[in-house]
């Protein structure tokens, strides 16, 4: 064969190769849906991937089908996981790139989050306005004053961002215009203009990082060592107020490495199965171990966990801690310093919880992200003791002929305190009415002297009486009615007003003797032995608790329910659990003391589960409880 012919043959082979390559690559994702050729990489995005839409032959159905199908196919085309994974893996090695869902690749295997202008804060180009700083100051002062009225102290703790502690790991292309971050501005403003107690953890953590790793490389948060150090700093600060609080030193502990796959930044890149998160178990001298908590299950936001009341404890102190993701494991190291401690995952304090717990101190932990927002809002009910109202709680409906006025008023928030509305004329109190929770109409006839004329001279005042502390172990009954609402979209809101879960799967809640959810787990419907084991484990731990167990199973079809909840419940000795548990919208309430089902409800909407008076095996009584569906 001549050289020319050979060259032509090579060219022909090249053409054939391209002809194979092109269709192969565009066909494979489709083909993998028909035959299983895809490697088993799962991204686990912690969200339900869009399901295949059903074709509705009406005009509107046909018109909306393409978009629905597009979003389905976007989530489900073949090799999606593998492609995302390999792509992120390659790019995650180059510092300075933004990989996956807004993750910045740093130096030496460190990663940073770029959302919420965090890297702008690193560069020092966020400038808070005087108004923003003033709002923060006022909000914090109101909060402190309100708590002081009940004799409660308030400590604000800021969990530093990773780049504050490890700025040298941020890629070099991000120049720092100034090292003065938003947090610095807030701290110096509060120092100059108020007496808010703010704990800045940056210095101790920076000092510690030379000895131990204190933050995760592939997660935004501190690791177990950083957490331990942060809590000890909090305790040090609290001991200024409560000398009985002691703290530990890291020097008394050894550390053991543990690995898991729950790095949030790794997940944002789709690499959590490739790049493990390294954490440390603290081992004390007597062999006591403090292992890091595992990955988060279900939606923890708004959940409250109550620890304590150890028998024979000489501690008297109580605390309520409001925290975000940084503080999710505070209880590990805090609970022993308190007689009772409550940990609630929320940015804004829950007044109901504070008034119920009546702690000695409220600790609020917030991450160094969006501080100007998270520090600028108080919950309803945070008013000074003699706040004047202008149309907020009282509204004049119908001033008439100088002889009659009608007021409409509503008690604020869900506070368990007595609330009053008073009417003042020319600065003098002429009448006062106790407010109920619901809206009330007050008619004020001619008893007011002088008769009502020009309304601008009238002011209303609102006040409440702080309740006495009445929580010395009185657990004979729930202090409130327990209410929970299941929404049509599958989310489940509220026991005692707190947001609970949003998962569309199988949700298990452990409710303590005071009506608060102390633990919960959410499972989606995909079958896995791992999940069954986890459920059984959870239930086993719950078995010896007091209180009750709430099971909520929300799903629209029963095809995919394969989680063996029934088996798990039987395995831990729960009696009388319904045989047919595959029904959707199933809710069951189980007394953990007697291991019996108190009430259950299943079937299609609408539904409502109501429990009247019920004597719990643990010795307390439910006054009333209702769970109902609610449209969104």
């Amino acid at each position: 064969m001549t050289v020319d012919k050979r060259q032509k043959t090579i060219r022909k082979l090249f053409d054939m190769a391209v002809i194979l390559l092109f269709p192969a690559l565009i066909f494979l994702p489709l083909l993998s849906k028909v035959i299983a050729i895809e490697p088993g990489i799962r991204l686990r995005e912690k969200r339900v991937l869009t399901r295949r839409p059903e074709l509705d032959l009406s005009l509107s159905g046909l018109l909306s089908y393409p978009d629905e199908f597009d979003s389905f196919y976007k989530d489900n085309f073949g090799f999606r996981s593998g492609l995302v994974h390999v792509f992120s893996r390659i790019r995650s090695r180059v510092p300075g790139l933004i990989v996956g869902n807004n993750v910045l690749v740093g130096k030496d295997g460190w990663f940073f989050v770029t959302q919420n202008r965090t890297m702008d804060d690193f560069r020092g180009i966020i400038r808070l306005s005087p108004q923003q700083l003033d709002t923060i100051k006022n909000t914090m002062e109101d909060r402190k004053e309100w708590l002081a009225m009940f004799g409660i102290k308030y400590l604000l703790v800021i969990a530093p961002a990773k780049w504050e502690i490890y700025p040298e790991k941020v890629p070099g292309n991000l120049n720092r215009v100034s090292e003065r971050t938003a947090l610095d501005q807030i701290i110096s403003f509060l120092q100059d203009h108020s007496d808010i107690d703010l704990l800045d953890l940056r210095r101790p953590l920076r000092e510690l990082k030379g000895l131990y790793p204190v933050y995760h490389k592939v997660d935004t948060h501190w690791n177990n060592v950083g957490l331990f150090a942060a809590v000890q700093e909090i305790k040090k600060k609290l001991s200024e107020w409560f000398p009985e609080i002691t703290w530990d030193s890291l020097a008394d502990y050894g550390i053991e490495e543990v690995r898991d796959n729950s790095g949030d930044l790794a997940r944002m890149m789709g690499l959590h199965w490739t790049i493990p998160r390294i954490d440390y178990t603290l081992v004390g001298k007597k062999g006591e171990k403090y292992a890091p908590e595992g990955p988060i299950r279900g939606n923890p936001i708004g959940q409250t966990m109550i620890c304590g009341e150890p028998s024979g404890s000489h501690q008297k102190l109580r605390t309520v801690v409001f925290h975000d993701s940084f503080g999710r494991s505070f209880h590990l190291y805090m609970k022993n310093s308190f007689f009772r401690s409550a940990y609630s995952w929320r940015h804004i304090p829950d007044t109901g919880l504070i008034l119920r717990e009546r702690p000695d101190v409220v600790v609020q932990e917030l991450g160094q992200r969006n501080l100007s927002e998270t520090l600028s809002q108080n919950p309803a009910g945070f008013f000074g003791p003699n706040s004047q109202f202008t149309g907020k709680a009282a509204k004049i409906l119908c001033p008439s002929n100088g002889r009659l006025a009608v007021f409409r008023a509503k008690a604020l928030h869900d506070l368990p305190v007595k609330q009053y509305l008073s009417l003042h004329i020319n600065g003098e109190k002429v009448a006062e009415w106790p407010l109920a929770q619901e809206q009330i109409l007050y008619s004020v006839p001619a008893l007011v002297n002088p008769p009502i004329g020009d309304l601008s001279e009238y002011t209303f005042a609102y006040r409440y009486e702080p309740p006495g502390r009445s929580n010395t172990g009185d657990k004979s009954a729930f202090p409130f009615d327990l209410r929970a609402i299941c929404r049509d979209n599958g989310s489940f809101v509220g026991i005692n007003g707190s947001e609970l879960a949003w998962s569309k799967g199988y949700n298990v809640y452990l409710v303590d003797t005071e009506g608060y959810v102390s633990q919960s787990r959410a499972f989606d419907y995909t079958k896995s032995d791992e999940k069954n084991a986890e459920l059984t484990e959870f239930l086993k731990k719950a078995r010896d608790r007091k209180g009750f167990l709430l099971l909520v199973n929300r799903h629209r079809t029963d095809r995919r329910l394969t989680l063996d909840a029934k088996g798990a419940l039987r395995a831990i000795g729960l009696k009388g659990f319904p045989e047919d548990q595959r029904r959707w919208n199933h809710i069951a309430l189980i007394d953990l003391g007697s291991k019996k089902v108190i009430a259950e409800q299943a079937g299609s909407a609408p539904q409502r589960l109501v429990v009247g008076r019920y004597k719990m095996d643990a010795g307390f009584e439910i006054r009333s409880l209702q769970i109902q569906r609610k449209s969104d």
Partner: protein, 508 residues
Amino acid sequence: MTFLFYFLPVFLGFYFLFSAVSLIKTGKVSRFPGNLFLLFSSLFFYAWGEKLFVFVMLTSTLIDYICGLAISGHFGRKWKEEIITLEKDSPRTSRQKIALVVSVVTNLSILGFFKYFNFFVDSFNSAFATLRLEAWQFHDVMQVALPVGISFYTFQSMSYTIDVYRGNTPATKSLLDFASFVTMFPQLVAGPIIRYRDVACQLKERRVTIEDFSCGARRFIIGLGKKVIVADYLAVTVDKIFAVPGESLTTGLAWLGAIGFAIQLYFDFSGYSDMAIGLGRILGFRFLENFNYPYIARSLREYWTRWHISLANWFRDYLYFPLGGNRRPLPRVIFNLCVVFFLCGLWHGPSWTFVAWGMTHGVFLILERQGLEKWLKRLWVPLQHIYLLVLSSCIKMIFRSESIGQAWDMIKAMAGFARGDGSVYNVGSYLNPEFIAVFAVGVLGCLPIIPALNRRLSRWIGSRPRSAVVPLTTIHTLLEFSALALIFIWAIMWIANGTYNPFIYFRF
């Protein structure tokens, strides 16, 4: 996503399955079932994205088909009789004239209504507001949605009736052929604007060889890579730079934004064209080129022979020449150019910045015609290139900016009158190894360097001793193939990456 990994493989599979018999027999794709399947697929494709607007497209198609027949005078004759091209110089009957007017008016009305209705209402309202004639303003006017590709298919089908009228091409009897031509999905969304006379023969039957398929696939892959890897990537940074407030811009940053945008626009648009031309080639069509390295031009006039060629040709043949072109006295030529570029600007989008962009082109073309180009020709060649690059970058600022004011800020900063000190927004903070690499690829891709190198390499291999030619050719081919595969896979990965959206707790 659905297009690349669902529609396209299914379409290609069936297209070649249906055409298998004729392909094996004659090596050609025939009208049945080739065009039929193409037509239905295109309509499905368009209806998938644009829903009921598919009927707008069908209406325009049907009217132009009928007008085409009317112009050719085929009505009243036997259907089987062959349609012949009209004689170029013979006078046209009033019936033919009416049919042409109907076609042009229909298409322009469709385009005007869907694309410009709201724009004109808003413009009138703001004009009346300036004149303090608020009472004359229009209120509660309906909001018209813009169907995708309307600017392309109306121009395509209009070119058909005009060409029939002028005697450039015979009208077609086959509605199937004509509808396949207007609705053909590869170029429906973003061009190029194809003319009926260029593809008339291929609509009847077309040859698809292994070389065609391979060449088309390569072209598609390169287009996809241009769009996804370069244009979309640079767009992120360019958007950030254009969001920088005017008082913080630095000269370096403005230039980074300007060059970045020039590359982004070229790669985006020519990437689309490459994909369309490539897909067309796979199906057996040979569309004309739409871009020819516009940034190596040495004058704006030359630039317009290299940039969006199909649009420039359309305006030249159907607007500029009928207006008299440049054979008229000077004032008339200036007027012609102004009209053409006013409309060309408006064609790009219903906004005054586009009009300003078009008009600036018009002004500079007039200047070039009036001697600027002659003067330029005498300059050192690199200076001629710099003239074009600087000028087109500045004019592109108008294209990209939200307002004329923003464009002016950018141009001032580029000229060295930047107000920012570079402490907060500076070039360095936008650079990372990947950006630099993509930017470099972008700059290289704007120049005809890679094809030239490739040719030179082939020639060099050919000049080696006979024993070395075959191994060297093999290596060369393998390299080319690997580069293609890499581009394709990397582009697909970028697309997949865009769908990844995990739920993370720390946001709370």
